[in-house]
Amino acid sequence: MFPYLRSQRVNLQLLQETSARELEQHLDSIEGIKVIVLDEAMIGPLGLVTKPKIFTDRGIKLIALKPDLRSPKEVQNIVYIVRPQVKLMDQLAAHVRNNNQAGRQFHIFFVPRRSCLCIKHLENLDVVNTFMHFGELTWNFLPLDSDVVSMEMPNAYRDVSIEGDTTALYQAAVGLVQLQRLYGRIPKIYGKGVMAQFVWDHAKQLAIDEKSLYNGDKGAIDQLILLDRGIDLLTPLATQLTYEGLIDEFYGIRQNQLTLPGEHFPAYYTNPVAASGSSGSTAGAEDPERLISDSDRKTIFLHSGEPLYGELRNKNFNEVRMLLARKVKDIQAQMNVNRQEQTVQEIKNFVDRLPQLMEQKKATSEHTAIAGLIDERINLYSFNDDLAAEQEFMICADIDRPSAYIEDQIARRSDLRNVLRLICLQCAAASGFKERVLNYYKRELAQVYGLEVLLTISHLEKAGLLRAQTESRAYAVLRKTLHLTVDDSVEVNPKDISYVHSFYAPLTARLVEHSLKPLGWQTLKSQINNLPGPTFEDFQVQLIGIGGRHAGGATPSETSLLHARRVVLVVFVGGCTFAEIAALRFLAAQEDNNVEFVIATTKVINKHSFLDSLMSS
């Protein structure tokens, strides 16, 4: 059902199928006509593991949770699929009251975990007795693409760092155990950071009972690298310059879907050939791929199942422009060959290729349209000025003084979020402000944006985005030792991952890159000592029970595979950006590295969404 998740070594279709089966089994155990009511936040994640077919096959309708919506009389069961959020329970209770009728049964499935707090709240609202069943769908990691899984928890970093609520970390640990159950034991583990350590410690603890995991040979994944977002707060704040990163920053990609106003894509409503020739990825009200449709906006699916997007997504935007221009030329050339001079055979060939060609044409024009929208945005002076300022910080120019650019922005009362982003970025590059500088910024911000800004600042301080300087200047040192900024960077046909931010290589991706080298992690260990949190490594060896037959040689299967491609699972605890994903994909594409990555994250974030999650109260 999800061909784009397919891959050789770690086939994430398996994860999707397992998750879907869990839901199907729950649904099949409920007898009678049913309706599924979805929490807004669950619509996207549900689409990552299920196709509408499994619901239509069972005659189940999906609706979004709206308290005053009534279901038809003949519906015998109402099944809620929700995130365990107390606030949501008020709406849910209202919906229950509006739909309560004799003989109707209510069921709740919490994703990924049943919450006693929610149930208690329902108790307080006096509706708890109407529920037949409080279940859970243990969906922790959801497959986004053939090499990316995400927990779709946008507030993970915020919850942990600001509120000290480690639910996301615990669930990540549970998810890691689940992944190992599907793909086998991971023999080697490296990690950095407090949150990363927390995740690993608990994943290990939870796996105590999984005897089968330790008895078998190693699984499909050779190595696990856990990275804490807290060790690199600069990258998520920086502007991404890859195609996918830019789309996400400007328009937001939600669970592989990009929704844009339909007006930008007039061609597809007028061109019936393109619309009907599509494989179901065009927009429209009767789009079979979407669970709950939305008519006047166009939805585009962005994942590696679309070949053109697969080619473009990880490229620097400057290269994308060129590639698109070339594509257009190619297609034109193929379409406009003089047919009169061709033999019948040649024409037949052409006709056979026509649907494919049309497909290509459609995709190309779609992406040309998107690229055009992006082009407009990045040609704005403000975009370039911001970018220039960011890049100044990245090379640590004048980093210890209040930045004139930021001061100007404050004076002009620019968008607060962007101002705070730049300040936090400077703070990250400077590895903390001198107290004087921090206080200056605070005073300026409060004077301009009002006293309330202090509450936001307080959040950023708790999150570690604004902090006082400590002795070590980790960023400045690592910039040199790990070549985080590259002088002679190229954006087109790059040789180094720094292209994703024009000349800055995300620290996280650099760490992964270095760990691939022989003795890489051992060398890194001393270098990254100055980053916050512990550096750790661990091994999960095969458990040899007494009287077991594996007495001979440690683990032959684990050493003999030296020449096969290594598969490394990189877990970003607290979210990662598309630029980081692009950088890792770039590394995997280099033959010398002989490596394949699977990327797991709490959520794919960008500079806006990351700050938004931290700023909200």
Partner: protein, 836 residues
């Protein structure tokens, strides 16, 4: 080698062979004499209970208090009960090896095989009021029940302590007493058969009156004195005072035979001998003092001399005989055993056995014997394996298995599974039959009980080591046995440390799976040993499992600790909700403050339900910054920032947030100022609530420059920002003259680029140009470009020898297609580009 393979123990009751097998020689205690005892034994080689027979005269030894003694089959005393409950009427064993004792007053006491009381109950109803004369413990499909007969001749059945008693119908014409009775089970129902005079009365629950069957016997007699029902409740045996024996079906419709024993003495017991190969019975054994009589359906007989006193125990595949000196079993000879060992047997198995023997003797005859059974060798092998299972003597077992092993070599593609299985089971059976274990089970009984039950019986007898070995041998889970061992330790060993040490020692073996310290801890808690329970919990690595028990024990502190350690926030939340209900709030705070995760989760819960509780927490924590923010949020929610500012500021100050506190003070001052400003402007401008910056902006907009400058100095607004404010407001009003004047008033702290920018924002290129000239040379290209003054930009770039900007301009010119400028650029580029 047993002589003649024990065929000497065989005897014939035409047409079948029976045999008497010696199971073990019991080693009774010196002071134990069966003669004066009443004995009941549990089936399946279970324990037996003995009490002094009150009807016999006994030489008094030791205490005269009645005592029930419980033995295993080898004569080891496993327990005793000092009887002090009143007159005991009857005893019996339940199918779960519990001793059931029925008293005269209709009370029932239940003991385990160690003599520990498990429960007691009363039959209830009428039976409890009237005395009981007789009682029987019977087995049925629904478990073990008790039947009692009252002095009034009524019979009551009680299945177990939870069920109410059932009264059977009255005996018709109950003026004369019955002589014997027995309970028969039919499916889930039980009924009673009574012998009275010459008739048999059937009393079934639900019927109003009993059914009488008379004239069963042909020969004369006075009354029926014994009645016996077979183990499977299918056959009935009746015995009269004249020594007549009647055998028939239990419904008395079918009569197998009537047999005259010719004896006048009263038999001790009559039991049916169940067949070994199916669930039927063909013969009964009658015990007289010193004499056993076996009679079958064909009225053939055989007799065996015996000890003066013995007790018969009916089994599912024979009858056990317990006497002072021996423990034997009478069973029908299994066909396969007969085939092999019978003299002059012509069966293939017999030849195979001989062949093997000769083979061992290295005799050529082996081949001859082999050729005689070669065509049926598979049958022969299977029979040998089967026969081995029936044998009690390990030597015979061995020789049979060796024969099977020898024989299967001649069968291509023989499936050894059965052979292996029987070998394994035999080993277990021999272990169980050992006198230390004393569970003499037959293969059939073993299969019927199934290994799990046997393991649990072993565990109950505290044979943990044997149980584990047996479990390992049969490839069954063994961890629960260790768990029981641990329970036993917990209950009997008083030294906490020692117990914990012993348990960890045993449990640390990694091959043991699925052991839960928590279950053991739970047991410890049930025994009132909370200290030990906690010690055991500490050994459990999965901390989340600790929590339920800790909560139950009221160890809230530890429960929170364990929950937080597990990292499971859901569990932490559940614990917090649970213990908050049970504790004083102050104690609750004291506990959770020790555990950051718990504290954070609690704060989060309270954030959504009760903000005041949050305030309490901050107060106990002396978290002044949070208090300040708490007040701040409240103020924002209630739109009452002004009145709260001092409060907020104070808290900030206490929390050492100096800047924040100052800013609060500034804001408070500002709010005051705004009020006066508003009144001055008659409310034309709403200043209230604006930020300092915005207030200045508003003032500048209305031309109150003085006032704005005053604020600037009062609130230490940096020059840069003030300049920005000035030029922005000026440009906003298109006041270009003022702007220029302002630009010349002083050297600009922000440079002149902002001037360009504000002009461009208002699309005034001409004004912008003035300021571009005053920008640093490096930046001029950029600003010319931004202003759309490309020619100037190109010139400037050339002057600066700024090749990079020229390239940029070149691409821009290509875009707007200006051939003149493009040519100029190309020219310049050509001049600047380094020669190759």
């Amino acid at each position: 080698m047993p002589i003649m393979n024990n065929t000497g123990e065989w005897f014939k009751v035409r047409p079948d062979y029976y045999r008497k097998v010696e199971l073990a020689t019991p080693d009774w205690p010196i002071d134990f004499d069966l003669e004066y005892m009443q004995v009941v034994a549990a089936p399946y080689g279970g324990p037996l209970a003995a009490i002094r027979d009150a009807t016999k005269l006994v030489p008094v030894k030791g205490t005269s208090r009645p005592m029930i003694r419980i033995f295993d089959t080898s004569g080891n005393e496993t327990g005793h009960i000092l009887w002090n409950h009143g007159k005991l009427i009857s005893m019996g064993w339940s199918d779960t090896e519990e001793l059931i004792c029925v008293l005269e007053n209709a009370k029932v006491f239940v003991y385990d095989l160690f003599g520990n009381e498990k429960e007691s109950y009363s039959i209830g109803g009428e039976a409890s009021v009237i005395k009981i004369v007789e009682a029987k413990v019977f087995q049925s499909a629904a478990g073990t029940g008790v039947a009692v007969m009252t002095t009034s001749g009524r019979i009551f059945l009680k299945q177990n302590s939870n069920k109410t008693e059932r009264k059977l119908p009255d005996i018709p014409n109950s003026n004369s007493n019955c002589s014997c009775w027995e309970i028969v089970t039919e499916g889930r129902n039980s009924y009673c058969l009574l012998g009275r005079e010459r008739e048999v009365i059937k009393l079934q629950h639900g019927q109003t009156v009993g059914t009488v069957t008379a004239n069963l016997f042909e020969k004369p007699h006075d009354r029926i004195i014994k009645i016996s029902v077979s183990y499977n409740h299918q056959h009935l045996a009746l015995y009269t005072n004249t020594g007549l024996l009647w055998l028939g079906s239990v419904d008395m419709r079918q009569k197998y035979c009537e047999f005259d024993t010719g004896r006048k003495d009263i038999p001790l017991q009559i039991e049916w001998i169940m067949n070994t190969h199916n669930t039927d019975a063909d013969a009964v054994v009658i015990s007289y003092p010193s004499y056993l009589l076996i009679v079958n359906r064909n009225a053939d007989r055989s007799e065996i001399p015996s000890d003066p006193v013995m007790f018969l125990v009916a089994e599912m595949d024979g009858v056990r005989i317990i006497s002072q000196t021996s423990h034997e079993m009478i069973q029908r000879l299994p066909k396969c055993v007969q085939n092999i060992f019978a003299v002059n047997s012509q069966e293939p198995a017999s030849y195979l056995f001989e062949a093997q023997k000769k083979f061992e003797e290295k005799s050529y005859k082996s081949d001859e014997y082999l050729s005689m059974c070669h065509s049926n060798i598979e049958l022969a092998v299977n029979e040998c394996i089967e026969a081995a299972a029936y044998e009690f003597c390990p030597v015979t077992q061995k020789s049979l298995m060796r024969t099977a092993y020898f024989g299967k070599g001649f069968i291509p593609s023989h499936n050894p599974e059965e052979y292996m299985r029987i070998l394994r089971i035999l080993r277990v059976l021999n272990t169980l039959r050992h006198e230390k274990i004393a569970m003499p089970l037959t293969y059939k009984q073993f299969s019927h009980l199934n290994p799990e039950v046997i393991l649990s019986r072993l565990v109950f007898r505290k044979h943990y080591a044997v149980a584990i070995q047996v479990a390992k041998h049969l490839k069954l889970p063994e961890s629960w046995i260790l768990e029981h061992w641990a329970y036993h330790k917990v209950m009997n060993d008083q030294n906490d440390n020692e117990v914990a040490r012993k348990i960890t020692e045993k449990f640390k073996n990694p091959s043991i799976e699925g052991i839960s310290y928590c279950n053991i801890a739970e047991k410890a808690h049930q025994n009132g040993r909370d200290e030990l329970a906690i010690k055991l919990l500490e050994l459990e690595p999965r901390t989340s499992l600790h929590v339920p028990l800790l909560l139950k024990m009221g160890k809230f502190d530890r429960a929170v600790a364990s929950a937080t350690q597990s990292g499971d926030t859901e569990l932490v939340t559940a614990v917090l909700l649970e213990i908050k209900k049970k504790m004083m709030l102050s104690n609750f705070h004291m506990i959770i403050r020790e555990y950051p995760l718990a504290l954070n989760m609690y704060k989060k819960i309270m954030m959504e339900s009760s903000r005041t509780a949050l305030f309490d927490i901050y107060n106990t924590e002396d978290d002044h910054k949070s208090i300040a923010e708490y007040h701040f949020y409240n103020a924002l929610d209630s739109e009452g920032l002004e009145s709260n500012l001092s409060n907020i500021g104070n808290s900030y100050a206490q929390g050492r947030c100096t800047v924040e506190a100052e800013l609060c003070a500034d804001t408070a001052r500002m709010l005051k100022l705004q009020k006066t400003l508003s009144t001055r402007h008659n409310g034309a401008i709403r200043f209230n609530g604006l930020s300092i910056h915005d207030t200045m902006l508003e003032l500048l907009k209305v031309g109150e420059q003085k006032e704005a400058e005053k604020i600037k100095s009062d609130y230490k607004v940096p020059d840069r920002r003030f300049w920005w404010l000035r030029i922005l407001t000026l440009a906003d009003k298109y006041n270009w003259v003022e702007l220029e004047k302002f630009s010349k008033s002083k050297k600009s702290p922000i440079g002149y680029e902002p001037f360009v920018e504000v002009c461009l924002q208002q699309d005034n290129v001409r004004e912008a140009q003035k300021y571009i000239l005053r920008c640093p040379d490096k930046r001029k290209v950029y600003w010319y470009m931004r202003a759309g003054l490309y020619e100037e930009s190109i010139d400037c770039a050339f002057e600066q020898r700024d090749l990079h900007s020229l390239y940029e301009l070149q691409s821009k010119m290509q875009l707007i297609r200006d051939p003149v400028l493009l040519e100029k650029i190309c020219h310049y580029i050509g001049m600047l580009e380094p020669r190759r």
